[in-house]
């Protein structure tokens, strides 16, 4: 049915990760409400959802930057992205 979408396992894993991240955010907010905006080091008000968005967008740029500067493998980009995500959720 969806063969026209040209699926591959890595892209399935990518979208599953996005889906799991969104579901986790919903569960997190339900179990422990606290998604009200707060002002972090960048001086902008962000909710938990905003911080997820900033993390994902930043990770995309980090991977593109790593790919442009160093090429494959992308482990370095992955480590920086994880560090970036932790930074965003803690301080932004």
């Amino acid at each position: 049915m969806f063969s026209w979408m040209a699926w591959t396992w890595p892209t399935v894993a990518f979208f599953v990760f996005i889906g799991v991240a969104l579901t986790t955010m919903v569960i997190w907010e339900t179990r422990s409400p606290g998604g009200a905006p707060r002002r972090g080091v960048f001086g902008i008000d962000t909710t938990r959802g905003d911080r997820l968005f900033i993390s994902l967008l930043g990770a995309a740029y980090i991977f593109l930057g790593w790919l442009g500067l160093f090429g494959v493998p992308l482990w370095g980009g992955l480590i920086i992205s994880i560090a970036w995500t932790l930074f965003v959720f803690r301080f932004v």
Partner: protein
């Protein structure tokens, strides 16, 4: 005491929109992601390529040049259309029948389909039969947008300014109309000059609509395709080949679906980031009020 019942049933009302967005945006976008890591020669047969196309696009001089042209174009039209739109809005009458006349005249360019605008300007600017082209040449200036890169660029910019400054005018005019007369009366009592009225009353009151205007014009101009495609076809050479025109050339002209998918995702990321920055700045200003 009335007991308020809370439930989450209202979320079902969002479902139709969600389905619509899924089919017209999310699923196609997911397909583009899938294409971006594969090679195909048609017939629904694909070969895994990993991040090859992303590396290729990131190191491609052709992509860098198209991106540079795109940024330059967007910067130029914003630098012209925003101030010009404000000036025209300030010059428009506030009362009387002329208000309606001006509003209709301003709205006219916005109502013309984009491909028609491109075709109109193509004929208008032709050096042999077009009114604009013939006039410029009659003034002794050598102008031929079909052969001269500079002339083609200027014509595309002029066409966009003609087409879209009206949007800025209408938004700025709406902002100006929302200023109560009491502000002007107070300014006159204080002996404020015309510039001071503009700087301290009109401009701050227009800030919100102007931010929206900048955001709309940025996104539209960054994704511009139809008008320059009809007017110049991206030429002469690659002089007016913007990102979207280059993307279509790669995807449909060369049938390189993998590189085109990777390029479109990078293109999407750039628009997403810049739009998010504009939006965040706009919302921050709102929050500070």
């Amino acid at each position: 005491m009335i007991e308020r019942t809370t439930n989450q049933k209202a979320w079902w009302l969002v479902l139709p929109v969600l389905v619509l967005v899924a089919f017209n945006a999310i699923i196609p976008l997911m397909t583009v992601v899938n294409y971006s890591v594969q090679e195909t020669f048609g017939d629904n047969v694909f070969f895994w390529e990993g991040v090859t196309w992303y590396t290729e696009v990131l190191h491609s001089p052709r992509f860098h040049e198209a991106l540079g042209r795109q940024l330059m174009f967007t910067f130029q039209i914003l630098a012209i259309e925003i101030p010009l739109g404000v000036i025209v809005a300030l010059a428009m009458p506030r009362k009387g029948i002329l208000v309606s006349v001006c509003l209709v005249l301003m709205a006219l360019p916005l109502l013309i389909p984009w491909n028609v605008v491109g075709a109109m300007w193509n004929i208008f600017a032709l050096p042999d039969i077009g009114l604009l082209g013939r006039t410029i040449n009659a003034m002794g200036i050598d102008y031929n947008f079909t052969q001269q890169p500079g002339a083609a660029w200027a014509t595309v910019v002029l066409m966009d300014v003609w087409h879209w400054t009206s949007l800025v005018v209408l938004l700025a005019y709406a902002g100006l109309r929302s200023i109560p007369d009491a502000f002007y009366q107070a300014a006159h009592i204080d002996g404020a000059s015309g510039w001071q009225i503009f700087r301290y009353i009109q401009l701050p009151k227009m800030k919100r609509v102007l931010t929206i205007a900048v955001l709309l014009r940025f996104m539209d101009s960054f994704m511009i395709y139809t008008e320059p495609f009809v007017l110049t076809g991206g030429g002469p050479g690659n002089a007016t080949t913007f990102l979207s025109i280059d993307l279509v050339k790669i995807a449909l002209g060369q049938f390189d679906l993998g590189p085109a998918a990777a390029m479109s995702l990078i293109y999407f990321m750039i628009i997403l980031l810049l739009s998010w920055i504009f939006y965040t700045v706009m919302m921050r200003d709102e929050d500070q009020k």
